[in-house]
């Protein structure tokens, strides 16, 4: 009998192409997602060395970071953005890489379209030049972000030089309270482990509250693993996973489906497998969360007051808190629910899926966006947009005064025209509240989709449970 293995160990072992005496490994990469920002220099590298893409069919490209989310028929106004998107098309054409262009209904945020198409499958290794590649771990695939040099490496060789990560398991026991979502759960986890707590680890999320999540919710949790420092998050595949994948365009069919399914069922961690680090949380203790500072670890329950520098354990932390409060224009001791907002952004690879939009619609229905608040909803893909429109969600949004837009990364990182002005305060369903992330001087509060909708209609950070 071999020793019990974790889900991570199993995926790692099955992708090992070579292991050097010093422990450095060459691992095989099954799927490679490509977008316009982190790939041009990689394709240029191939061109300069006369190399080709080893497996174009295992590669899928999409423009998402730079694309406009309105007036798309007019093309991209910003010249640099336009060149970058055009360059992606040229590169895909030259190297034979499949591309969902800006006018393709399947276009969207790279981490939304992978699962949507069945490109993302359990047990696979998946990479992308983007730190939120961790999203795909929701399917029990080892998925992580890489730099452009590694993008080039994968394009050329379909492998990566790596050392195995350590195993961490985070178990969330019991049931989440009503009105508390996957986003609140992952923010609470990051608050607990800190933004570097997962460095060097792959986090496996387990427990009843994780199993109870939909695939959309699981993607939200895995997506933000990187905000806790872990390159990858993992959730064991189960019947929900298989049901989500079945019938998707790139998913296996017929006999191959049966064969794949039998394999996928062997993936969950073995009984008795050991982890280098363990953390257990009780779902019942988690409230809706809001970030107050400039790191995702700066998070509190919506019922709490903004902390001050005195709360910190050391000088470095104290000065970091003081700096964050100054940047955010906040005073320690203020209840976070009293903070007024100017803008609401709903979308991103964290919360741009259909379930997120339904959550927003449930709050928005029959209500109006507060005066002086601009609220935008950016669906994660063309297919999410279509589905929301089939369900009539767009009408609810428009009637409530939300701006219903075209798919893309949008104000999550503000590379396109959607950005915050200096001092503008935003309740955002995205993943990073870094200084300047959503626009220079912009102030970001990370929240769940329901919480973002609640802030939109009340004009301040609000416990969504008070509106139901």
């Amino acid at each position: 009998m071999s020793a019990p293995r974790t889900l991570f160990d199993k995926i790692w072992d099955s992708h090992l192409v070579d292991r050097q005496d010093d422990g450095t490994c060459l691992i095989y990469i099954d799927r490679h997602l490509v977008h316009e920002v982190t790939s041009p220099q990689a394709f240029e590298g191939l061109r300069m060395t006369g190399r080709t893409v080893r497996r174009p069919e295992a590669t899928l490209a999409v423009p998402d970071h730079n694309v406009p989310t309105s007036g798309r028929a007019q093309g991209i106004e910003d010249e640099e953005s336009r060149i970058q998107v055009e360059q992606l098309s040229k590169n895909c054409d030259e190297f034979g890489v499949p591309l969902f262009g800006m006018d393709d209904v399947r276009q969207g945020v790279v981490h939304i379209i992978g699962p949507e198409q069945g490109f993302t499958l359990p047990g696979m290794t998946i990479v992308c030049g983007d730190s939120h590649t961790a999203t795909h771990g929701a399917f029990g695939s080892l998925a992580f972000g890489i730099g452009t040099s590694e993008v080039e490496h994968v394009l050329a060789t379909q492998t990566l030089i790596q050392k195995p990560a350590k195993n961490m398991r985070i178990t969330v026991e019991g049931k989440l309270p009503v009105g508390v979502t996957a986003k609140d759960m992952v923010l609470a986890i990051i608050g607990k482990i800190g933004t570097a707590g997962g460095t060097g680890y792959v986090i496996e999320y387990a427990g009843e509250a994780i199993r109870d999540l939909s695939m959309e919710g699981r993607m939200t949790v895995c997506n933000m693993s990187i905000e806790g420092g872990a390159r990858a998050g993992l959730i064991a595949p189960d019947e929900k996973t298989f049901e989500y994948i079945m019938g998707r365009p790139m998913a296996p069919k017929g006999g191959a489906w049966e064969q794949a399914l039998a394999y996928w069922k062997t993936l969950p961690s073995d009984e008795g497998a050991t982890y280098d680090k363990e953390l257990v949380l009780k779902a019942a203790d988690i409230e809706p969360q809001v970030t107050w500072g400039t790191s995702p670890e700066d998070v509190i329950p919506v019922s709490a007051a903004i902390p001050g520098p005195d709360a910190a354990p050391d000088d470095n932390k104290r000065s970091a808190i003081a700096r964050s409060l100054d940047y955010m224009g906040l005073t320690a001791g203020t209840p976070i629910s009293e903070v007024a907002i100017d803008t609401v952004f709903i979308g991103s690879c964290t919360n741009g899926r259909i379930e997120d939009l339904r959550e927003v619609a449930a709050v928005a229905k029959g209500r109006k966006v507060a005066e002086n608040v601009r609220a935008m909803i950016v669906p994660g893909s063309g297919l999410v947009k279509n589905q929301a429109e089939e369900e009539g969600l767009d009408q609810i949004f428009i009637e409530a005064g939300f701006d219903w837009r075209e798919p893309g990364c949008s104000m999550c990182l503000a590379m396109n025209a959607d950005k915050l002005a200096p001092g503008e305060r935003c309740a955002s369903t995205s993943n990073r509240n870094f200084e300047g992330r959503q626009g220079r001087g912009g102030r970001t509060h990370l929240v769940s989709p329901g919480m973002a909708a609640a802030a939109a209609v009340t004009g301040h950070l609000t416990d969504v449970r008070e509106l139901s």
């Binding site: 010093d22 240029e44 590298g45 030089i161 970091a320 870094f434």
Partner: protein, 200 residues
């Protein structure tokens, strides 16, 4: 990639924790399709005010304008995977970063660009931060082969580094070339998988 063996130069202090890659290079500089010329965007929002005027950022001060080493706080390089961050640092002449810890993706990206990231215990970083605060008079030497840092007062600090990464950095090796030499192993892996997991 340029080799890295020994480096002697000024170290600039940047005593902030969680310096993220958005801070190292903001999004507006990611629209380039080149690897070079990113110096202009390095720490742009720390360096300039909203009108683009200089804010006397440490790397712009006369004492540090030739700095090749950066001493920073915990969890350096967290956030986005953008390799534009190490490209911008390199373009500004930074070849070595010393901090208590680094985020994984950034740490890895450094090695692909001939930059040496060194993780040290907080107390040792604090000492080097003090040294760096003394400006151009405080010359720090980094010897990768010996895995040692010498401070301006002659004290020596040892550091750990993965043997394979050290080898690649010291010889300026191209990862892709190394892997392509293992082409037969990749071929046979793919052959095996075609049988065991035809859907993959």
């Amino acid at each position: 990639m340029d080799k890295f063996d020994k480096l002697t130069g000024t170290a600039a202090p940047l005593p902030l924790v969680n310096i993220d890659t958005d801070m190292i290079i903001p999004k507006q500089f990611l629209k380039t399709i080149k690897r070079t010329g990113l110096r202009e965007g390095l720490f742009y929002e720390l360096r300039t005010d909203e009108d683009g005027n200089a804010k006397d950022f440490v790397l712009d001060q006369p004492a540090y304008k030739d700095a090749q080493i950066l001493v920073a706080g915990d969890n350096f390089g967290c956030g986005s995977s953008r390799e534009h961050a190490p490209w911008a640092l390199l373009d500004a002449g930074i070849r070595c970063i010393i901090a208590p810890s680094f985020a994984d993706i950034f740490y890895n990206n450094c090695f692909k660009n001939g930059i040496l990231p060194i993780a040290l215990p907080q107390e040792q970083v604090d000492l080097l931060m003090d040294d760096a605060g003394r400006g151009a008079n405080a010359v720090v030497s980094v010897d990768l082969e010996a895995q040692e840092i010498k401070g301006p007062d002659g004290g020596t600090i040892s550091f750990e580094i993965d043997a394979f990464r050290k080898h690649c950095l010291m010889n300026g090796l191209d990862d892709i070339g190394l892997t392509m030499a293992k082409g037969e192993k990749i071929d046979s892996f793919e052959e095996r998988r075609k049988l065991s997991q035809p859907w993959a």
